[in-house]
C-alpha cells in the first residue's frame, strides 16, 4: 500500500478531521453574528476552503478547510479504512454477502417503517436483531462465520450514508415558500433569496410565456440572448441590494437611471448586502433592450417594482425582476388560516392553514390541514406551516421543501443504530455463552 493510501486511511487522519469538524462548527456558530445563518452555511459548510473568515468584527488572514473538504476527505478515509487490513482471501465472500446485503436491506426496510410508524418499526428492528443474533451465534452460521465485524461495518455504512446524504441534500434539495391570503390560489412558490429577471408575453387570457434569466447571469452583466426573445438584453447596472425612492425634482440633478418605464421617475442607490434573517436584499438592474441593432431604451427593474410594458413591433412584453419561482401542475387555495397564541402572550400556540389541493392530472381535489409538525407531503414535496404575517391575520407562509434524498439520513441513522446495538449484543451474548460453558 502506498504511503498516500496509508495516510488517507489512517486513524490519525480521522481524529484530525473530526477535530477540524468540531472547530468548523464552533467558528461557524460564531460567524453567524456577522454573516447570518444563510451566509454562514454557504461560507463555512458548503465550501471547500474558507478564506479570511470574519470573526469578532475583523477578517483574519487565514485559510481554513470548508465543510465539503472535511466531509470528502472523511468519506475517503472511512471507505479506505474499511478496506485497510481486510484479509479477503481468508473469508467466504459469498457467505458474507449473503448475510450482509439482505440484512442491510431489511434494516433499511425497518427504518422506512419506523419513519411512518415508530412503534411498528421499533418492533421490526428488535425482531431483526434477535434473528441476526440467532443466525450468528446459534444458527447456521455459528461455526462457519461469526459476523464479528458486521456491527462495525454497518456503523461505517451508516456514517457514509449520512455524509453522502448531506451532500445530496446540499446539491439536490430546493427550499421555497408560498405566501398567500385567504381566498388566493397558488401554483407556484418563490425562493427567499434568489431573484429572476422575467420577460412575460400573453399566450392566451389565462396563460403567459415566461423567459426567466437567473440573478447570477444578471450579476455578470454584459449581453444576454435567447432565441425566444425578440431582443438582446444588455445588463448595464446590477446590485444585489439597493434603495429606491421617488425623484425629488430639485434635489436629483443627475439623469434618471432609465429612459423608459418606472425608472424615469425614480432614483436608485446600491446598498451593501444584508445577511441577517430578518431583512432581505432588494436587488435592482438597469437593462437596455436592443432590437435589430437599435436600442429600444433602458429600463430600471427592481424587486419592488411591478411589471413594466415593452412594445416590440406588434408584440407586447412585460419585464419584471421578481423572486425566483417554481411552478407545479397542482395548486393550493388557502381556505382559512388560524393563528392562536397563548393567552396574554404573543407566543404562538397553534397556527394552521386549511388548503384545498387541486391536481387536474390526478383529479385530486381535497382539503388538507397543514399545521406545526403536520406537513402536507405531495408530488415529492413537503409543505410545512412555516410562518404568518404579523400584520395581516389572513396571510399564511408555507415552506416548500423538495429533497429527493430526505430518507438518506434516516437510513444512515438506522444503519448506525443497528450496527452499534448489534456489536454490543454480539459480544455480550458471546461473553454470557462463554461463562456458561466455563
Amino acid at each position: 500500500m502506498s504511503r498516500a493510501l496509508k495516510f488517507l486511511s489512517s486513524l490519525r487522519l480521522t481524529v484530525v478531521l473530526l477535530g477540524l469538524g468540531i472547530l468548523l462548527i464552533f467558528l461557524g456558530t460564531l460567524a453567524q453574528v456577522h454573516e447570518g445563518t444563510w451566509n454562514t452555511q454557504k461560507i463555512y459548510f458548503q465550501s471547500w476552503v474558507i478564506t479570511k473568515p470574519l470573526l469578532y468584527h475583523r477578517r483574519w488572514p487565514v485559510i481554513l478547510p470548508g465543510g465539503y473538504l472535511i466531509g470528502t476527505v472523511l468519506l475517503v478515509n472511512l471507505i479506505l479504512a474499511h478496506f485497510r487490513g481486510a484479509n479477503w482471501g481468508q473469508r467466504n465472500v459469498g457467505q458474507v454477502l449473503a448475510h450482509h446485503v439482505p440484512l442491510l436491506a431489511l434494516v433499511f426496510v425497518a427504518t422506512w417503517v419506523a419513519v411512518r410508524s415508530p412503534f411498528v418499526g421499533m418492533g421490526f428492528f428488535i425482531a431483526l436483531l434477535a434473528l441476526d443474533m440467532w443466525i450468528s451465534r446459534a444458527g447456521p452460521l455459528k461455526d462457519t462465520y461469526t459476523g464479528k465485524k458486521l456491527g462495525i461495518n454497518f456503523t461505517h455504512v451508516g456514517v457514509v450514508m449520512l455524509l453522502l446524504g448531506q451532500l445530496a441534500t446540499d446539491q439536490l434539495a430546493v427550499e421555497t415558500n408560498i405566501r398567500f391570503r385567504e381566498g388566493e390560489t397558488r401554483s407556484w412558490s418563490e425562493k427567499h433569496r434568489e431573484t429572476e429577471l422575467v420577460f412575460l408575453q400573453d399566450v392566451n387570457t389565462a396563460q403567459e410565456k415566461v423567459v426567466s434569466i437567473p440573478e447570477s447571469l444578471l450579476a455578470r452583466k454584459g449581453e444576454l440572448r435567447d432565441e425566444k426573445l425578440p431582443f438582446v438584453v444588455r445588463v448595464k447596472e446590477y446590485a444585489p441590494n439597493s434603495k429606491l425612492r421617488e425623484r425629488a425634482p430639485v434635489m436629483d440633478k443627475s439623469p434618471p437611471p432609465a429612459t423608459q418605464g418606472d425608472g424615469t421617475k425614480l432614483t436608485v442607490e446600491p446598498q451593501p448586502e444584508v445577511y441577517d434573517d430578518k431583512r432581505r436584499n432588494l436587488p435592482y438592474a438597469v437593462i437596455e433592450l436592443l432590437h435589430g441593432g437599435n436600442s429600444l431604451g433602458t429600463w430600471l427593474v427592481s424587486i419592488l417594482l411591478e411589471a413594466q410594458e415593452v412594445k416590440v413591433g406588434n408584440d407586447t412584453w412585460r419585464i419584471a425582476l421578481r423572486s425566483e419561482r417554481t411552478y407545479r401542475d397542482f395548486s393550493l387555495t388557502l381556505l382559512d388560516f388560524t393563528h392562536d397564541v397563548y393567552p396574554g402572550t404573543t407566543k404562538p400556540r397553534d397556527f394552521r392553514s386549511r388548503v384545498r389541493l387541486e391536481d387536474p392530472k390526478t383529479r385530486e381535489n381535497r382539503e388538507v390541514d397543514i399545521f406545526m409538525n403536520n406537513p402536507l407531503r405531495y408530488g415529492g414535496e413537503t409543505f410545512y406551516q412555516s410562518s404568518f404575517d404579523e400584520f395581516d391575520p389572513r396571510v399564511t407562509i408555507l415552506q416548500v421543501v423538495r429533497n429527493p434524498s430526505w430518507l438518506t439520513p434516516y437510513f444512515g441513522c438506522g444503519a448506525v443504530g443497528y450496527g452499534l446495538t448489534r456489536h454490543f449484543l454480539f459480544y455480550l451474548i458471546g461473553f454470557i455463552l462463554k461463562r456458561r460453558s466455563a
Binding site: 439536490l172 381566498g183 425629488a248
Partner: protein
Amino acid sequence: MIKKKLEVISLAVVVAVCGGCRREEIRVYTAPKDPSARQEAAHHPGDGHDHGNEREPAPRPRPQLTWKLPEGWREVAPGQMNVATFSIRDANQEAQVTITPLPMLAGQDALIVNMWRQQVGLQPLSNDMVMAQLQDVVVGGENGKLFEVTGKAAEGETPTRIVTAMVHRSDASWFYKLSGGASLVEAQKPAFIEFLKSIQIKEPAADSQPANETGAPKWEVPTGWKPLRAGPMQVARFAVPARNGATGEVFVSVFPNDTGGTLANVNRWRGQLKLKDVNEAELRSLVTSLDAALPNAVLVDITNNSQQLIGAIVPRGGQWWFYKLLGDAAAVAPERDNFIRFAKSTP
C-alpha cells in the same frame, strides 16, 4: 490491483462531490397568469410610505394651517407626504417649499440634519456639531429650529441649498423646507422666514376627533369586514370578504386639507388602476354626491379590467376623510352598498 481499485474509489468520491455543481441558465416555460395586482397598488415603493414592520399608532387629527403667501410663490399639488407645496421660479432657477408632518422624529435632530446633508452630498456631522448649527425660529407663534445646508456642485452647475425649519409638536414633527438653487434660496430666505411667521395653526375641534375615549373609531363596521393593521397615514384598514379568490381592502385616511382637491385625488386613484388622468369636465361625469346630508362629499367608482376602486371624499369637521375600497371587482362590487353606508357613518 487492490491499490488501483482504492485509488479509483478515492477519485470517484471526489468527482462525485465536484460533479454536483449546478448550472445557471435561461429558462423558458408557459405558466398561468398572476392574479392582477391588488392592494399593492395602494401601497407601493416610493409612495412615501414606510414599508418597514414598525407598528405605528394611527395618526391623530392634525391641526389646520393657514398662511400668507409671499409674492412670487405659487401653490401646487402636494406630494403624498406633504400637506402643502409651493413653487418659486426666477429666470434661471427653481425652488420649492414643502410642509411635511412626520411622526416620531422628536429628539432626532442630528439624524434629520445629517439625512439632508447626505442628500446634497455632504458628510454627516456629530451630534454636538449639529446642535451648534441649529438656529431659533418662530413658526406660527411656536418655537422651532432652523438649519441650512448647501451641497457641492460640479463645475458650471448651481449648488443646491436647503433651509429647513422644524417644530416638534405633540401630533407630529412639522418640517417647512425651502430647497433649490443656492442663489434663489438665499434670495427667498427672508420671504420664507416671514412665511413661517405668518402661519396660523388652528387645533382640531374637539368634536372632530376620529377616535372615542378608548382610541377606537365609533363607526359601524359592516359584518364580514376584517380589521387589518392600518398603514402609516391611514386611520383604518379592513379586508372585505373574499369571493372565489377575489379580494378587496378598505383604506381610510384623514387630512387637514383636501390634499389637492377632488380632481387630483380622483386622478391619483385612476393612476392606481393604470387609467389615464381626466380633466375637470370629464370629472363631473365620473363623480356623484355621496349623501345629501353631507355637502361636498363625493363618491367615485372606477373599474379597469378586473380591478375596481370605489372612493369617497368626505369633508367633515374641518378635515377631509378619504375612503377607498380597492381590489378585484368580484369582491369590491358586492360591498359597494356596505362601503357607502360605512363612509356616511360618523367616525
